[in-house]
Amino acid sequence: MARTREMLTGNTSVAWGVRLAEVDYVPTYPITPQTEIIETLAKWIYDGVMDARCVSLDSEHSMITAAGAASATGVRVFTATSSQGLLYGFEMLYTVAGWRVPFVMVNVSRGLSSPITLEPDHNDILAARDSGFLQIHCETCQEALDSILMAYRLAEDERVLLPIFVNMDGFHLSFTREPVEIPDIDEVRRFLPPYQSNHAFFKASQPMAQGLAVIGGSSYSYFKYQMHLASMKALIVYQEVSEEFNKIFGRSYNTTEGYMTHDAEYILVMSNSFSTLGKAAIEKVRKKGMKAGLLRLRLLRPFPDADLKAILKGKKAVAVIDQNISVGKGGIWYSEIAGALYHEKNKPLLLSFIGGLGGKNISAQEFEFIFNAMIKAFNTGEIETPRLLYTEGEWREMERLKSIAGKTYNK
């Protein structure tokens, strides 16, 4: 089959990536807005166009256990979830990462309850930040497909051998169709050879013990730190994987994407599908003469310290838009980026904004507000941080809803 171009949703793009990766086993559990991925895979497997086993489990906890256990036998495994489902299976994330099993798991981001919602922000996937899973975050449907292929190469590399998340936004990507190139299967096979496991090959004919108990901290420390070192190795492996991907498919994905950052004085930092809105805002403000650019975070674990610093070095001001909120602290990436820049000599001012929670739009005016705040910060040195992006119109609507709900008190 040659390369073809189709209108695909983020979900069907992921399903195509999984099909082309010739995955062996797909444990599943439904949750909006991810279900279309497993529905598509289940149909293909039923139709016989995909040679894999698809199993419905009783929960995400069992599903992640099944994914890890199957991967420990040396087969290629895929699974997916979202939001509440990810949290329901949370215990097993750390457990299977410790097994060093390189399966790919998609998280379709959706804001966490309460109040319950359906649209995206990143508190779900960032809750899994420290689990040992690597994390790739996608902006477009094409990138979601391509990232599945890259993720298997990265995770299955002998130097890494850790599970990996590919993240995309619910609705804004999962249900949005845009033109996507579906790669040719022979080219994919050239890029992604079959998984040959030397360290986890759980078979009846070759007994081994997995998932050990260790008492006393020294063994435990050793194993945990080895996971960290393997994750850091993934930075080197990522470069190789991404170069080869570009060579074969002609699309290039760095650990961090710099959009008009080369000559920029001011930088927005964003991730996932809302970066598209940020790019439009950059184009607009550039026309007015402001030298602005956008840095999109793509590989988030391991954290691409050096690539990030190379882009941000010498800039006047950087505004991080966190589409998440660490309650009682603020934006999660703001803190991580501040940490990365702390020892830099020529470091930019760093501003923190919380935006797009529960899929709230970030309007042109809110972007303008950020650009102006960066200029003001550079001119005066005053930095307000963190700030929620919220407009007067939205506040009025909230007041109206509160009044309908009978939320009044004597002020």
């Binding site: 845009e178 739009n361 700030r387 407009t391």
Partner: protein
């Protein structure tokens, strides 16, 4: 609004946009918003338009938005068409064109299908009314086009499913070629249907709608964005800021029966008062009157017609609902 503090930095640098009118296709983007009810086909209609534009060489993007999925709930879907790569995502709050599959949504303040439509924009309404009548009835200021595509659906498909029909209407207004529409309908209908005859009927119905609409010149303009400054969100006590609703008894205010395509009508001459319809109604809408005859609460009857099916003496007739 005692809490709101306007940040001063905002005003100093506020940009004034001047909308530039450009013909569609030159450099701007066409933004189309579809309004329908779950099960009517608004999502597939947005895909038919998206695929047709894609096949014609445009950059296209389509996207449905719905909450907890159920039949009859208001849903919206969006299609963006452009010659340049599309740097937008999510809802379209300022459409150039609105396609309304269900006329009753115009009376629903939450759906508000004409909200944000641009000056010079086009509103298509699926109704038996003429454009002038619909314009007057629903107080729509913009250009209005009407066609009773529910009737066309019932006549040509035997079903009030409007996906490919609304797609045909939208494609015509957007200036898409017939051949691209034809390919798009074949592709999208085949993706959800296995019955070859029904696919062919969908194609015929879509093309019928395409030709029933006169080609129009659509001018697209830059989305301006409502001017609304960024504010400081103040602290409020949990009495106010916890997600609870304190008012009670608002369910009766929500009429859930306004999206019927057919309604059940009783023939008391034939009715034996057996109460089968009362027992079978899944919404508990059917009760008995003083004489022991069944009647339904039309404010909440969804027109599922289970009562028509179940009536042992066939005393209930299905009658097409026409909104007047």
């Amino acid at each position: 609004m005692p809490y709101i503090k306007n940040p001063t930095v905002q005003k100093d640098m506020r940009v004034s946009y001047s909308p530039t009118y450009t013909f569609f296709g030159a450099e701007q983007m066409l933004r189309v918003r579809f309004h329908g009810r779950g099960g009517q086909g608004a999502k597939v209609a947005s895909r038919v338009l998206g695929t047709a534009a894609f096949l014609e060489g445009y950059c296209a993007q389509d996207f449905p938005l719905y909450g907890a999925e159920r039949r009859g709930a208001p849903i919206t879907a969006f299609t963006r068409i452009s010659r340049e790569p599309i740097l937008e995502r999510g809802v379209i709050s300022e459409p150039d064109m609105v396609i309304i599959l269900d006329e009753t949504l115009l009376d629903d303040p939450q759906a508000n299908p004409v909200s944000g439509i641009k000056e010079g924009g086009i509103v298509f309404i699926n109704t038996a009314h003429s454009p002038a009548e619909a314009k007057d009835k629903h107080k729509v200021a913009e250009r209005v086009i009407t066609l009773d595509i529910t009737k066309i659906g019932l006549d040509m498909l035997g079903l009030p499913v409007l996906s490919t029909l609304a797609g045909g209407v939208a494609a015509r207004i957007a200036g898409i070629e017939e051949d691209s529409l034809r390919k798009a309908v074949e592709k999208e209908a085949s993706a959800i249907l296995t019955d070859e005859k029904l696919i062919t009927k969908n194609l015929e119905a879509s093309l019928f709608c395409f030709h029933a609409i006169h080609s129009l010149e659509v001018k697209t303009t830059e989305a301006i964005g409502k001017e609304s400054p960024v504010i400081d969100v103040p602290f409020e006590p949990a009495l106010i800021s916890s997600p609870t609703i304190n008012t009670t008894g608002n369910t009766p205010l929500r009429k859930t029966g306004n999206w019927r395509v057919f309604k059940p009508v009783w023939n008391y001459e034939a009715c034996t008062k057996c109460m089968t319809c009362v027992a079978r109604c899944p919404d508990g809408c059917i009760a008995m009157n003083e004489d022991g005859f069944p009647y339904t609460d039309y404010d909440n009857c969804k027109g599922c017609l289970i009562c028509v099916e179940e009536c042992p003496v066939k005393a209930i007739e299905k009658v097409r609902e026409v909104h007047t």
